[in-house]
């Protein structure tokens, strides 16, 4: 089968693990060489749970690498993912130049990320930040540096990064408008050539551009179809049961979108109402970016796809969910009923013949993904 043609602008986040002794820098450099482009280092933010009482999360900055092609266009970023843990030697010493910066205040960390030089060593990155507060860096054991304010209250802490944290490599592609197959395939071929493997906790997330979804009736249809068949579709594409940041929507969402009042709302009002339903990004189908009107990530995110080192399975799953979105924008918006069975849904999405046959074959052979 040729690569399925995707007719929707979409970006991909593919979680991989570099082999021992290599880092995500190596993959970024390989991609840059292929594209005739450049690699630049930047600070990548993540949240992690905190054991400090009264402080549920710490915000992290770790080294990420951005590849632009010869014309300066973004190709992809290569970043850490804290959920990828299995297979790493937690006792491994830090590699030179690899560090992380932690703070309990995400606002300060985002300010630091904007203004600190990520190409610098730790001291060079933090020193200007300390000077903003009129203080000097405090040095502690193990290479740890602390930024404090004038009352010696911690603002941010930087430390070398042990435990092979340079090996997790999430490929974050630029939004792709066409030739999704060729672009993904080239990136995954580079990853395979570097010896990347799919880690235990891996997932692939697809961000569908949300411009066409900014309509209360479209969102209502999308919530309806995924409330009925989202679990089946998740099993159909073979989600990774080790992925922990998945789950269903809050009950308030469907209660809102089923209401007659929601269907009559203009988009700004509908979006505000969606934000009151308790949406989070840690679910199977992320509506938060759409509802929050994120400037940099205005997307509907499907988070249930497993990772593959070849593009075909990812594209087949993307084509399936593209079909669901097209249904929501078209027949669903006009009030078409949702098929009671997932095979009926698939058959009614207007998918390309090969794609439809692939998913119907799978629906009929996976007993728990079949009709309810």
């Amino acid at each position: 089968m040729d690569f399925p043609v995707i007719g929707w602008k979409a970006g991909f986040e593919i979680e991989l693990m570099m082999p021992r002794g290599r880092s995500r820098t190596d993959l970024a450099l390989r991609v840059a060489r292929r594209c005739g482009g450049t690699v630049s280092r930047f600070f990548h933010p993540q949240s992690e749970p905190s054991k400090v009482p009264g402080r549920p999360t710490f915000e992290n900055l770790t080294p990420g690498f951005r590849v632009r092609d010869g014309a300066g266009r973004l190709v992809a970023s290569f970043v850490d993912d804290l959920t990828l843990q299995a297979g790493l030697n937690k006792d491994a010493p830090p590699r030179e130049g690899w560090y992380r910066i932690v703070s309990d205040d995400g606002r300060l960390l985002r300010l630091l990320a904007r203004h600190a030089d990520a190409e610098s060593e730790l001291e060079g990155a933090l020193m200007p930040f300390a000077h903003l507060f009129g203080t000097e860096l405090e040095r502690h054991d193990g290479g740890m540096l602390r930024v404090v304010d004038e009352r010696r209250v911690s603002v941010a802490i930087g430390a070398p990064l042990p435990g092979e944290r340079e090996r997790p490599c999430e490929i974050v592609t630029a939004p792709i408008l066409e030739d999704h197959g060729a672009i993904l395939s080239a990136l995954l071929d580079d990853a395979a050539a570097e010896g990347c493997a799919v880690p235990l906790e891996s997932a692939t997330h697809v961000h569908f551009d949300a411009a066409a979804l900014q309509d209360a009736r479209v969102v209502a249809a999308l919530v309806d179809v995924l409330s009925r068949h989202g679990d089946s579709l998740k099993r159909l594409v073979g989600f990774n049961p080790h992925c922990v940041r998945l789950g269903r929507w809050p009950e308030a969402l469907a209660a809102l979108t089923r209401s007659a009042a929601f269907a009559e709302m203009a988009w700004p009002e509908a979006r505000a109402a969606l934000m009151q339903t308790g949406l989070t990004k840690y679910c199977d189908y992320n509506l938060l970016n759409l509802a929050a009107d994120h400037r940099d990530k205005h997307t509907f995110e499907v988070r249930v796809m497993p990772t593959s080192l070849t593009a075909q399975p990812i594209l087949l799953a993307t084509a399936l969910f593209e079909g669901v979105l097209r249904w929501a924008v078209g027949p669903g918006r006009e009030g078409a009923p949702v098929s009671s069975g997932v095979s009926g849904l698939i058959a009614g999405l207007g998918l390309a013949r090969d794609v439809e046959r692939h998913w119907l074959d799978r629906a009929f052979t996976l007993p728990h993904a079949a009709e309810r």
């Binding site: 693990m17 297979g87 010896g195 799919v198 235990l200």
Partner: protein, 282 residues
């Protein structure tokens, strides 16, 4: 795992011979059974052990992880994971491979090694590298010169197990040994605690041979009942039963035989009480 040209040709032929019914049956049976998918695959206990060591999960969970990737169409993910396990210095030992002392002794001679212990170490190393085919090919190309004494206890263990005449036939074809020796090999592995390795050996054996209806131990009347239960002609029922036995799924056949047959329509017999009226009933 590398396959010899001979094994590759057999695999290709086996795939081409599969009927639509067989494919549908096999895929339906394999779907959503990740451990079953692992056991039917080319991957070994050693491979599962490596994945378990890399991800710090149980070997049974590792089997399911491998099987899940196969079922989901992501089998291409497995080789790099195994390589990362090897890079982390994870290895398999002699106890992790599906071979006995006789195999090691034979390969020590084939490989011109000074000791059987050296051969055991090389076998374990080959399995660690994913190259069990080299071991199996070397054994197949160098069958035992003299039939070893058959152990009665091993035969008893075979007969007490769930393994069938068909399973023994498959192993006999793989290792070029007679039926009695094949039964004893199965029994010996069970007695020595290596019973978990038998499914992988049988997976390799299925690339070389298959069972006929005559190897199942079923009778013609069994075939008739299976035809009734499965709703197919008797000839097809025989083929289907043989296929199930070849795939190690004799339990499905036994379950079909244990259930009720589809009742045949009761023939209408004209008796004085129910003869039709002479005028056609109008």
């Amino acid at each position: 795992m590398r396959l010899s040209p001979r094994l590759l040709r057999r695999l290709t032929a086996a795939l081409m011979l599969s009927s639509a019914l067989t494919l549908a049956t096999a895929s339906a049976e394999a779907a959503n059974d990740p451990v079953g998918a692992f056991l039917s695959s080319q991957y070994t206990y050693c491979d599962a052990k490596l994945v378990a060591g890399l991800w710090k999960i149980s070997i049974d969970d590792a089997k399911a992880e491998i099987g899940r990737k196969i079922e989901g169409g992501y089998a291409g993910n497995i080789a790099p994971i195994l390589q990362q396990a090897r890079d982390a210095s994870l290895t398999c030992e002699w106890a992790d491979v599906p071979h006995g002392y006789d195999d090691a002794e034979r390969l020590a001679r084939v490989w011109n090694m000074d000791s059987v212990e050296d051969a055991k170490a090389k076998i374990a190393w080959l399995y660690t590298q994913g190259d069990s085919a080299s071991v199996l090919n070397a054994l197949a190309d160098n069958p035992a010169a003299v039939a070893p004494q058959v152990d009665d206890a091993a035969l008893d263990a075979f007969y007490a197990s769930a393994y069938t005449y068909c399973d023994a036939k498959l192993i006999g074809a793989l290792w070029h040994i007679d039926m009695t020796q094949a039964k004893a090999e199965i029994g010996q592995k069970i007695l020595n605690g290596y019973g978990d390795n038998l499914p992988q050996i049988l997976s390799a054996a299925r690339l070389e041979a298959q069972c006929d209806f005559s190897d199942t131990g079923l009778s013609y009347s069994d075939a008739e009942k299976l035809a009734s239960v499965w709703g197919v002609p008797v000839v097809q029922a025989k083929d289907k039963a043989a296929h199930h036995y070849t795939q190690g799924n004799s339990a499905a056949v036994q379950a079909a035989l244990a259930g009720p047959a589809t009742p045949r329509p009761t023939p209408i017999v004209n008796t004085p009480g129910n003869q039709p009226p002479a005028n056609g009933g109008k």
